[in-house]
Symmetry: C2
Amino acid sequence: MTASTPLSTPGATLSYEQSGVNYDLIDPLKVTAQRAAASTAVHLAVHGFTEVAASRGESAYVVDVGPFYLASIVECLGSKALVADEMFTLTGKSYYDSIAQDTIAMAINDLITVGATPLVVQAYWAAGGSEWFADAQRSQALVAGWKRACDVCQVAWGGGETPALAGIVADGRIDLAASCTGLINPKSRLSVGDKLGVGDVIVLLASSGIHANGLSLARKLVERLPNGYLTEVSPGLTYGDALLAPTVLYSPVTEALYSAGITPHYCANITGHGWRKLLRHPAEHRYRIHTVPVVTPVLKFIQQQANQDDREAYSTLNMGAGFAIFVKPEDAQRTVDVARAQGVEALIAGQIEAGPKELLIEPLNIRFGNDDLQLR
Amino acid sequence: MTASTPLSTPGATLSYEQSGVNYDLIDPLKVTAQRAAASTAVHLAVHGFTEVAASRGESAYVVDVGPFYLASIVECLGSKALVADEMFTLTGKSYYDSIAQDTIAMAINDLITVGATPLVVQAYWAAGGSEWFADAQRSQALVAGWKRACDVCQVAWGGGETPALAGIVADGRIDLAASCTGLINPKSRLSVGDKLGVGDVIVLLASSGIHANGLSLARKLVERLPNGYLTEVSPGLTYGDALLAPTVLYSPVTEALYSAGITPHYCANITGHGWRKLLRHPAEHRYRIHTVPVVTPVLKFIQQQANQDDREAYSTLNMGAGFAIFVKPEDAQRTVDVARAQGVEALIAGQIEAGPKELLIEPLNIRFGNDDLQLR
């Protein structure tokens, strides 16, 4: 497209970068912060502990505290609450129960990648003013959804913060985040990728929809939909409702895998950067995908409306796969079975080969190289 | 004052409630959330663990994981960054190094109340847009201050989130929070108040200024100052600079106490609700204060400008005392000595007596009863 084509023009391609988040502006800070953070690991020695260095750059930070590993994380929901707010205006329904689940999923699904059992979740609910909390329907939905997600993941909700931040959080809005602490116990459950190797099989767990990544793009698209969020994605299902399907909580699967005697070699939560997250581990391996999952209708709809080719779509959205588990070949089918027994659809999607670091999605003729994902 | 008197009128009393945060709107949600959270504790049993029930309602949540206790928390900075932004406009100086310390202090100073050694801090920096991070001076200050605070507290900076949340966080602003995880090790360090009793001595640690509570009031007051944030609080010290003195990090004191063989019976971080936080523990005790610390100039200034009587001021601001430690009488003087050796001024302020739950600040003839603090 040319610079003069409005993004709202149907037919014009809309990339994630065009939808509002400019990583070129954030990344220099991230690099500086990561270096400063890494330099603080030495402090753990004072307390008799050490960090698991391989967890730097992974989705959760891990410390060796002796009898087990300690994992912790804080994660932001992102802009999905804005869709809930719009849909409330249009339908009068509060979606904050599913928004709560999304927020917890952001933290839990990252924490479990390193092999941790989530134990405690803390709530961070920063509103644009005290008035936000005075809407009982919305508040009760948020509480109910938060509790239900804790129940599903069998974590204790420890507490949290409910500040009213007029002037910092926009009026009428809420900034939602969750922190999560867990243990890797026994220590053999640690999955930071040191056992990842050639021959390992890639199992993909189904997503429920967009989850909570790519929402800037999804919201931008509304501008070119005649009926906006009420446009039907499939018969009887509006775009807004489809977007607001809550993120799948994957910890019941990883806990069931442990009970079944399966220890993943590595896990990747497929969030921002879409399928490029399969390249997350720093090792040099080729990831060859021979089977892709069915694309959730709302993601297919977004791809079509944004006029994205497959490469762009798979580099941004989860395209039906919310979580990747890398296991020994002999564990692959059982991993699928265990996931399905927990109500999460799964499939054997590919395997790891010797080769340069790249992801080959064969059915779609897509290749992502190491240069396509710079997280460290 | 009458309802028609503008808050900016010099001489009119300005209470914390008038400054913008309406707890009456937030508290019903808080109660519902606390009940729902408490009901999730049963999940820990699945993992072989139990919560420390006495930590519900305390400043950090504690789980018994066998060889030690696990403590975790997430804390918000609040609105102090708005003062930093205003002062940047006025002086061209970035205050985000001290703002970083404030944010970490909010989490660390709460976590240590239960006897925990802080181990890992996670950063939550949610900006109103990618552009926030592009200001290198400000970003570098934030990183440098965050790292320095981690160094002081000897914690590992595990990682964090730097989302750009246009539409949720106000344009040009940043919502700062920190999560912190620590261990209570050995378990005898647990200080949730079960040993708190008659005869215990109250040691108060000095604050550096307003810390990060009461800022809504402090910002509101600017409207009645002819020179705003540049008004001098004391010769050569502007109101803005005085407000932005970073919060004292108290974990070096609590760690040094442990090294000295002193285990506090209880600790209270004096934040929102000011000295009423001394009534935090649910037990029925009378807390009698015979000596109050020198009031930091900026707090004296706020009290005067807001025309608050002592009772209002001590119920809102820390008035020179940032942290309270309750110890056995024989440990009291040594607690003061240990704090001073860490560069934190301290004093023996009072003791616990048998009696109804109340706080008597004798030098000022102030009494706070149980009704004055409802946190649970």
